[in-house]
Symmetry: C2
Subunit: 263 residues, 2 copies
C-alpha cells in the first residue's frame, strides 16, 4: 500500500527523469558520453523543451549528469572519496605531510575576524563575534582542476596571533601540527558535527556546483587535554563526491551522560 502506485500519477518531468536515470544505470550511455540534445530528448519523450529541461535538472542535481553550457549534457562517473573521521591525526603525525596531499591547497584568505555564528553555536565557551584567526582554504584536484573542498580554520588569538598563521600562505605541514607547536599542547579530543544541506550561493560558485546539488558540511572541534579549544575547522564538499566512514568499538556497558537533544 505504502509504495504501491509510484510513478503512476507522478508529474511528467519526474517520470522522464526516472526513465533517463534507468537508461543511464543500464549503461545505454557510459560515463563521459554525451546525451542527446534537449530538443532531441524532448521530441523523443514527446514533451516540451522546458519540461524536458526540468527532467534533466533532476539528474544534474543528483550528480548523475553534468551539463556544459553550449556543449551538451554528459554522464558523470560515480565516484565517492572515502574519508575517515578518526584516523586523520594519526596518519598525518606519522608522515607529517598535509592531510590531503593529493589535492592542491590554496589559501583564500588569512587574518583576524569575527567567529561566525554557526561555529559559535557548536561551542559552549565562545560567542559569535569573538575575534579569532581565520584561514579560508580551497582544495582543488590538480589533475582536473575541479574544486573538491572549501573550508576554513578558526584558531584562538592566544595561539595564532602574530604568527605565520595570519599569513595567507600554505603551511609547510599539517595544520594541527603547527597549532600544537604554537600552543604547546597536544590535540586530545575531537568532536565532529556533520550536516547535509544545500549550498550557499558562495559555495555554489566556489565549488562550481550545479543548481540543486547538496553539500556535506563538517565542523570539527579539537581540544587539548585541559578542554581548551585548539582549533575549529570546517569543510564543505559536494555531496556526491564524499562518503564519511567512521569505525569504532561498541562499548559493552558505558553510556554517555546526555540524551539526544535539539537545537
Amino acid at each position: 500500500m505504502v509504495t504501491s502506485d509510484l510513478g503512476a500519477f507522478a508529474p511528467k518531468y519526474q517520470r522522464v527523469a526516472n526513465d533517463l536515470r534507468r537508461r543511464i544505470r543500464q549503461g545505454e550511455w557510459q560515463p563521459g558520453d554525451r546525451l542527446p540534445a534537449e530538443t532531441a530528448l524532448a521530441e523523443h519523450y514527446d514533451l516540451s523543451v522546458p519540461t524536458m529541461r526540468q527532467a534533466v535538472a533532476v539528474l544534474r542535481a543528483e550528480g548523475a549528469v553534468e551539463s556544459r553550457h553550449g556543449v551538451g549534457t554528459f554522464v558523470k562517473e560515480e565516484r565517492r572519496l572515502q574519508r575517515r573521521s578518526r584516523d586523520r591525526y594519526g596518519r598525518a603525525r606519522k608522515d607529517s605531510r598535509l592531510l590531503t596531499a593529493h589535492l592542491e591547497h590554496t589559501i583564500l584568505s588569512a587574518g583576524r575576524g569575527p567567529l561566525p555564528a554557526h561555529i559559535a553555536a557548536v561551542l559552549d565557551d565562545a560567542e559569535p563575534g569573538d575575534e579569532v584567526v581565520i584561514r579560508r582554504r580551497l582544495l582543488t584536484d590538480p589533475k582536473t582542476g575541479t574544486p573538491e573542498e572549501v573550508g576554513a580554520s578558526y584558531v584562538p588569538l592566544g595561539i595564532a596571533a602574530e604568527t605565520f598563521l595570519e599569513e595567507p600562505t600554505v603551511v609547510p605541514k599539517a595544520m594541527f601540527l603547527c597549532v600544537e607547536e604554537l600552543a604547546g599542547k597536544r590535540y586530545a579530543q575531537a568532536r565532529d558535527h556533520w550536516i547535509a544541506r544545500l549550498p550557499t550561493p558562495e559555495e555554489t560558485q566556489v565549488l562550481g556546483l550545479p543548481t540543486g546539488a547538496p553539500v556535506m558540511h563538517v565542523i570539527h572541534v579539537a581540544r587539548a587535554e585541559d578542554g581548551s579549544v585548539l582549533e575549529v575547522s570546517e569543510s564543505v564538499w559536494p555531496a556526491d563526491r564524499i562518503m564519511l566512514i567512521d569505525e569504532y568499538p561498541v562499548e559493552p556497558e558505558a553510556a554517555m551522560p546526555e540524551a539526544p537533544s535539539e537545537i
Copy 2:
C-alpha cells in the same frame, strides 16, 4: 577576487531567492507565518509567476519554507535533531528501550529477500542477492505525524531465520539486543558509512519531501568480536532535520593501515 561579484549577474530567481532568505532570517516572517501568495510576490518583485515559483522552490529545497498545496507557503522552524553515532549502544543497553523511543515505529515489511547491491558494496564478505532477513521500518513523530526516518535492517539467515524477526511486528526492545540474544554473540565493532544525496522517488514519497530536498543516509555495519556480521542497518533522514555528532579521542601515535581510497 574569488568571491567578488556575487549576485551581480546571477539569474533573477537566485537574486530573489537570496532576498527572500535574507528577509526570513531577519525575522520579517516568523516560523509558522504564511508568506504572501506567489502572485503577490511575483508582482512585488516584478517578475513572472513561474520565475517567482523557481525562487520559492530554492527555499523549499533548503528547508527554509514549506508549501502546502492550495493553502500557502509557510516559514519552517529550523530544528535539527542531534544524533550521536557512538553512544547508541551504551545508552540502549542501559535502559533496554528502543533507541528512538520518542518516535513511533512502524514495520513496513519483514521477511527474507536479496541483499541490495548498495549494502553488499560496503561489505567484503557478502554478495548482492544473498538471501537475508530484511526488516523495513518507518519512524514517525507522533505529535505531528511527520515521517522522520525510513530505514531497514539486514540480518544474516543464520541468526534471524525462523525467528520473530521475520514477523512484521515491532520488536519489544532495541533491535540489537534481540540480535545479540539470537546470535549468542555481543556487538563488538561498528562501522558507519555516511553519505548525503538526493532522495529516490520512493523516499521522496514516504518521507513527504519537497522536490530538491537532500537526505542523509547511513549504512551501519555491526560485527561480533570474531568479525562476523551481526546486522547491517541503514537509515535515511531528511537532511534538514539531522545533525550527526561524533566525539572521539585523538590517538597520540597510532595510525590506521589504509589510505583514503575511492570506490
